[in-house]
Amino acid sequence: MEIRQPSWPVQALRYGVLIVLAVIFLVPIVFIAFTALKSRSDLLTSPFYALPEKFQWGNFAKAWNQGKMGMYMKNTALISVIKVPLGILVEALAAFALTRLNFKWSNAMFAFFLIGMMIPMQATLVPLNIFLNKTHLVSTYPGIILIYIGFGIPFGILILRGFFRTIPKEIDEAALIDGCGDIGKFFRVILPLSMPAIATLVILDFMATWNEFLLAQIFITKDSMRTITTGLLSFRGEHSTDYTLMNAGVLLSIIPILVVYLLFQKYFVSGLTGSVKG
């Protein structure tokens, strides 16, 4: 950052460019919102940039019920709420073993987990499909949650192990003197101290699970179990000619994310940058 105050034409230019760019970035969402709130006839007759003649809030109810967006959202919420804490617990236990239990093969095991990050999901789909079919877990919550947890493990261990390593060993000794066993150490000392890293993981993991598409597409075949991503695609197919309804569905799927984002924006940003910089 420069210390000399830039002249006001430069400042104005900077603002100008930023505002133009911001408007461009907002266009898609605003356009969708306008379309979602118009009636079908309004859409055909009024100019594309015009506000809806009468706000058709009913479009949202229709998208939620007949369009089944409500069902898709509930499914996604259920999967996310179970997967994220469970996944983090599994990863934290492993990271704990790698950093705090004098494990001889700690580095080798860590490298073993890390290899998983190089493997694209596509390279596991067919065997996983066979596995899920054999265990009757296709289109079930346990099935998809198991798979989601699996794919989250390498990254979760990477983050948590990195953070656990910054906790001084003195704390372990103090816990030992207080009569804390390993489980106690894990739940009452290490986990509470790791809340920043865990909060980051929660946000990132939630977002990834909420938005996941490929695995849901392959492993959830029953429409009643579909998530927002796969559901939106089928919703689009079914209502492809009713543009106002379709956009209402899209907007419905954006709103929860928007709300969470506005509330926790700084966690999203710092989480992403912090975790990638490792």
Partner: protein
């Protein structure tokens, strides 16, 4: 050294118990990891040497034929690979370039900075399917924003069916991906820019440096570490891209927007060429490794991972 005696302090039990403990903590993660990632990927590699349709009892061993057929005879594979490379080039230049530009614009104490940052970053938290659906509507030939805008400003001759025209489809999808993606390099660069101290700039100004010189000789070198991360993650994401393309064009029209991931999906789940699909997955693994291994090597050398 234990202070409080436990029941394991007697004899050999102590050694085995202590040695077992880490494994117990590792057990859930290790089991799930093996089941979901490790073993399946090995099995897929194995399957890539067979011809199989996924249901028949017999698989036919064909050695490297699947790989050879892909490289030599599959024109869609060639197209997909080309598209991935185009996508990567576009991402490296535009996604990173625009991200950097936005970061530089936002790196001053201006009012509403958080708001701007929030607007540019928001599309990144949306799923590829939502972005695809939103932009498919933007590109709608009769009602979409793009064509309507062109009509309104008198450029009606420029309107076209963006997603239905093999010439324009990939670029149209890429623009949607840009909208979604530039926020990510932007915040990474912003974080990197924050760590650069003022002093070099002050000294440079005193020496009569112009802004672009300050950028090239001070900002750019100090951003190098951030740049490495951004480049590596962008390259990997470009080779793996799937959601937005599949949801926007399904790989069409006429396979003009196919990429490796989507072509793998078609081969495996639509055409039931399990062997071929597995071979494509392994190309993906190879390519990812080519990027990640030097990256990990470079970053672990420089910092303590």
């Amino acid at each position: 050294m234990k202070i409080a005696p436990t029941r394991f302090d007697k004899g050999e039990n102590r050694m085995t118990a202590r040695a077992l403990k880490p494994w117990l903590f590792l057990l859930p993660a290790l089991t799930i990891y093996l089941i979901v990632i490790f073993v399946p990927s090995l099995y897929t590699f194995y399957l890539s040497f067979f011809k199989w349709n996924g249901v028949a009892a017999d698989k036919v061993f064909v050695g490297l034929d699947n790989y050879a057929d892909l490289i030599l005879h599959d024109s869609v594979f060639a197209r997909a690979l080309k598209n991935n490379l185009l996508w990567t080039a576009g991402s490296l230049i535009l996604m990173i370039g625009i991200g950097l530009m936005l970061a530089l614009l936002l790196n001053k104490r201006i009012k509403g900075r958080i708001v701007f940052r929030g607007i540019f970053y928001f599309p990144y938290v949306l799923s590829g399917v939502i972005v695809a659906t939103s932009w498919a509507w933007m590109y709608n030939p009769t009602q979409g924003f793009v064509n309507k805008l062109l009509e309104t400003i008198g450029l009606e001759s420029w309107t076209r069916a963006w997603l239905a025209d093999p010439e324009t489809a990939l670029y149209a999808v890429f623009i949607a991906a840009l909208w979604q993606g530039v926020g990510q390099p932007m915040v990474l660069f912003l974080a990197g820019l924050q760590t650069i101290p003022h002093d070099p700039y002050e000294a440079a100004v005193l020496d009569g440096a112009k802004p672009y010189q300050s950028f090239w000789y001070i900002t750019f070198p100090l951003l190098r570490e951030t740049l490495v991360i951004v480049v590596a993650t962008t390259m990997i994401a470009s080779m793996k891209v799937y959601d937005i393309i599949y949801a926007m064009t399904g790989g069409g029209p006429a396979e003009s927007t196919q990429v490796l991931s989507s072509w793998m999906y078609y081969q495996t789940f639509k055409f039931a060429n399990i062997g071929t699909g597995s071979a494509i997955s392994f190309f993906l693994v190879l390519i990812t490794m080519v990027v990640i291994i030097p990256y990990v090597y470079y970053t672990t050398k420089r910092s303590h991972l």
